[in-house]
């Protein structure tokens, strides 16, 4: 009964979304205020209806209703409650429902928070979001209905994929989807700008907080995914250039570029058509990501649910959305834009450079991701593109970007003077050199060009990011949240550059074979294996190893890596044990037992500054939160009435 209610709610949602897409658009066409005003209540109703459907699916999971095919496929009677709730998005159908829920959530947020937008803009934005919702709800109802019943009813479920039974994975997909879907708002604003022809500083100001919010969710989502892979896959890696990782990384790169070009459009009224193009691209890449994950055109560790029928549907959807948006762009953008020229040596010039590097990186990632598909399509055979390509292409593009981050904040808008820049950056340059030297002296076990460049660039980004807010504070005594947010996000980027440099250069890894009582030396640490004991989890049995880590005979920590066997899914999982600290991670994961003498294959790592990579992402997110909540964006009605008059 609950499942039927959910299905019914989905059908109602489809009808509401169709109305939300059509009625306001008609209103804009006929300048009919009543029809335009329909958009807001429609967005709220859509959220309510989809929320009902979502609750129904959650209830089916909580109640162990294995007559629902999706529940039977992704749950088990022994699955703990928290994972039954998160299992809702553990498979294709449910994650689509979550996607739709978030889309309607973003639409409702636009309807509620942007009450002061001109009526026609807000109507067009919500109508575009409604049209996207139509596509996704149709997709769910036609090819991926999570409420389908299963006959005969199985006695028990097939369990949630054990890979997904991890605290990090509870929130990783929702955050990622929040980011993906969030770019639909910037996309909708871009469409509204193209249709109405209103593409000015005010437009950029409306779009900025939405873009930043979507970006910060995506940042957190990607970082959590990497954190999870590090702990759960047991390979000690944290980024694999897997097609699905790339699918989330490309919108992130373009979204980052968009944030910066929006700043130029708001402050200087420049780069308008480029900004609109980026807004369309960010969302297009999100959709492309969905296609790549769901259609099975590429092989990926993430391809949990692939089905060609779904691929055809998403491809059709891509044709409509991307084809439509880019055609609209080709038609309208030339008429709207009159970009003036500006000198390269200025804040806007540097931000343009930043955009060039970010978009070229995104293009390089796209090329590498799609190349196997291309090669297969033209008959060059089955090939795969791996980390060697991506590292070789990507890292050289990031280095100038890190350099620019520090420079851009120190030059003025319009026309900058070299003397100003050098005067402002003298101290940061000196400081960064000192800090980098200290870091390298302390933690680098081997000195080469890469550690010198990467170490310095990281410190430079970190220190130079703080120069602009310090100067502002001294001059005006005030620090707007936007500036503080920018500085903090850049500090995060610097921390990440440092972390990536050190961990990729100085990680020490050993695969050893140990009997209880034996030990192995990795870097300056001694890992002592004390043996294995069986333990029982709620829905798994595990062998848990005990490994004590010593440094000069002092116990540093004890690690408990596990090898788990999930009874429901009949699947083995490796659960690595990691001791994090700012200076290094100590990491152990269990391989296989060897022979009968109690020996085990064990993988041990010492990874310097690993934590900095994720800390960097957290700091960037904090910066994003600060920037998005700047009071400039919370336009007061009075100021807006003035602007409208």
């Amino acid at each position: 009964m609950i499942a039927e209610l959910g299905h019914f709610a989905l059908l109602i949602a489809l009808a509401v979304a169709v109305l939300m897409a059509l009625v306001p658009a008609y209103g804009v066409w006929r300048t009919d205020a009543t029809a335009m005003a329909f958009a807001r209540p429609a967005a709220l109703v859509l959220l309510a209806v989809i929320f009902v459907a979502y609750l129904c699916l959650t209830a089916s999971f909580v109640n162990h209703d294995f007559s629902v095919a999706y529940v039977a496929g992704h749950s088990h009677s022994e699955l703990p409650l928290i994972y039954r709730i998160s299992a809702v998005w553990g498979g294709h159908e449910g994650s689509l429902l979550l996607w739709v829920l978030m889309l309607s959530g973003w639409s409702a947020a636009v309807a509620l928070l942007n009450r002061n937008l001109p009526l026609n803009i807000s109507a067009l934005v919500l109508s575009t979001l409604g049209a996207v919702a139509v596509g996704f709800v149709l997709f769910t109802v036609i090819t991926s209905n999570p409420f389908d019943r299963l006959v005969p009813i199985p006695a028990d479920g097939r369990d949630l994929n054990p890979l997904l039974q991890d605290p990090g994975l509870i929130i990783h997909p929702p955050l990622l989807y929040m980011g993906y879907v969030g770019f639909s708002v910037a996309f909708a604003f871009a469409i509204a700008a193209l249709v109405t022809g209103r593409l000015d500083a005010a437009w950029a100001r409306w779009t900025r907080p939405w873009t930043t919010s979507a970006w910060l969710f995506l940042t957190m989502g990607i970082a959590l995914g990497s954190w999870w892979a590090y702990h759960e896959l047991g390979w000690g890696g944290w980024w694999f250039w897997d097609p699905v990782e790339n699918a989330s990384f490309m919108p992130w790169l373009i979204g980052t570029a968009l944030i910066h070009s929006l700043a130029v459009t708001e402050k200087r009224g420049l780069l308008k058509s480029w900004t609109v193009l980026l807004a369309i691209m960010a969302f297009s890449l999100s959709l492309l990501g969905t296609f790549l994950v769901r259609s099975g055109v590429l092989i990926s560790v993430h391809a949990f649910a692939t089905d060609p029928a779904r691929g055809v549907f998403i491809l059709g959807f891509l044709v409509v959305v991307l084809g439509g948006a880019f055609t609209l762009y080709a038609w309208r953008a030339p008429k709207l834009v009159s970009d003036g020229a500006f000198p390269l040596f200025s804040r806007e010039g540097f931000l343009l450079l930043n955009n060039v590097f970010l978009s070229v990186s995104a293009a390089a990632v796209l090329l590498g991701t799609l190349y196997p598909l291309f090669a297969d399509a033209v008959g060059l055979g089955k090939i795969s593109v791996g980390p060697p390509y991506f590292n070789a292409v990507f890292l050289p593009l990031m280095a100038p970007l890190a350099l620019l981050v520090g420079l851009a904040a120190a030059v003025n808008w319009k026309r900058a003077r070299l003397t100003d820049m050098t005067r402002r950056l003298r101290l940061p340059l000196l400081l960064s050199l000192v800090v980098a030297a200290l870091l390298i002296w302390q933690w680098a076990t081997d000195i080469g060009l890469v550690v010198l460049v990467g170490g310095w660039l990281g410190c430079w980004t970190l220190v130079a990011a703080l120069a602009e807010p310090t100067r502002r504070l001294r001059l005006t005594g005030r620090l707007p949240r936007g500036v503080a947010g920018m500085a903090i996000a850049h500090v995060g980027f610097g921390a990440m550059v440092l972390g990536i440099t050190f961990v990729s250069l100085f990680s020490v890894e050993r695969d050893v074979r140990l009997a209880p009582g034996q030990s192995a030396d990795v870097a300056q640490f001694r890992f002592q294996f004390d043996g294995i004991e069986p333990i029982q989890g709620p829905n798994y049995d595990a062998d848990r190893g005990t490994i004590r880590v010593y440094r000069d005979d002092d116990l540093v920590t004890t690690l408990y890596p596990e090898k788990r066997f999930y009874r429901g899914a009949q699947q083995l999982m490796t659960d690595a044990s990691v001791r994090h600290s700012l200076s290094r991670d100590l990491y152990a994961s269990l391989g296989e037992p060897i022979g009968d003498a109690g020996e085990w294959a064990i993988r041990l790592y010492v990874k310097p500054m690993m934590l900095w990579v994720w800390l960097g992402a957290v700091i960037m997110t904090l910066g994003g939160i600060l920037a998005a909540s700047d009071r400039r964006y919370r336009a007061r009605p009075a100021a807006l009435a003035e602007a409208a008059a």
Partner: protein, 175 residues
């Protein structure tokens, strides 16, 4: 003019994705096609004798790796029941990493389409055959050569579109 560049790139990309949909990246050609099936010597399900690869000779045979814990196997099971009733091909089942009592119960419940069931308890033969996972099926000619390999459950469409033509070819070749 330059505003048309993005849309043309997108069109190219969409065409590529459309082509990509028709390809199957998981379709890795098996090196065993055209070769003799790897020999095996396994216990029967009831553990009352041995099944060796010699049984595969003499007539075209479908070798199917299955397990009672494998849900997709249930999807192809009705097809196998019809095939064994129609007698169009002999099906030899190899129960893969399964407890014999579970396999027997499963076959009792859903019907037994297999002429013979061998038991590969540790999956050693499956490695020789290059099995990714169950279900997986191999079509063999009367000399025991592998003609075709299918990963995943065989649908009715797979059977009509791929297996039947190949079986007809085999029948023509061996009078």
């Amino acid at each position: 003019m330059r505003y048309l560049v993005p849309v043309s790139l997108i069109v190219g990309l969409l065409v590529l994705l459309g082509i990509g949909l028709r390809l199957d990246p998981t379709e890795v050609p098996s090196p065993l096609i055209g070769k003799l099936a790897p020999p095996f010597d396994l216990p029967t399900l009831e553990d009352d004798g041995r099944v060796t690869s010699d049984v595969l000779l003499g007539q075209p045979t479908l070798v199917n790796f299955f397990a009672s814990w494998c849900t997709p196997c249930l999807a192809e099971h009705p097809l196998f029941m019809r095939l064994s009733a129609g007698g169009s091909v002999r099906i030899v089942g190899i129960s893969y990493k399964d407890r014999p009592e579970d396999t027997s119960r499963w076959l009792a419940r859903h019907g037994n389409p297999f002429a013979l069931v061998a038991r590969d308890a540790v999956g050693a033969s499956a490695i020789d055959w290059g099995v990714y996972g169950v279900p997986e099926s191999y079509l063999l000619d009367a000399e025991g050569r592998i003609v075709h390999k299918h990963v995943g459950p065989i649908s009715d469409a797979d059977w009509r579109g791929t297996f039947e033509p190949k079986l007809r070819d085999l029948a023509r070749l061996t009078p």
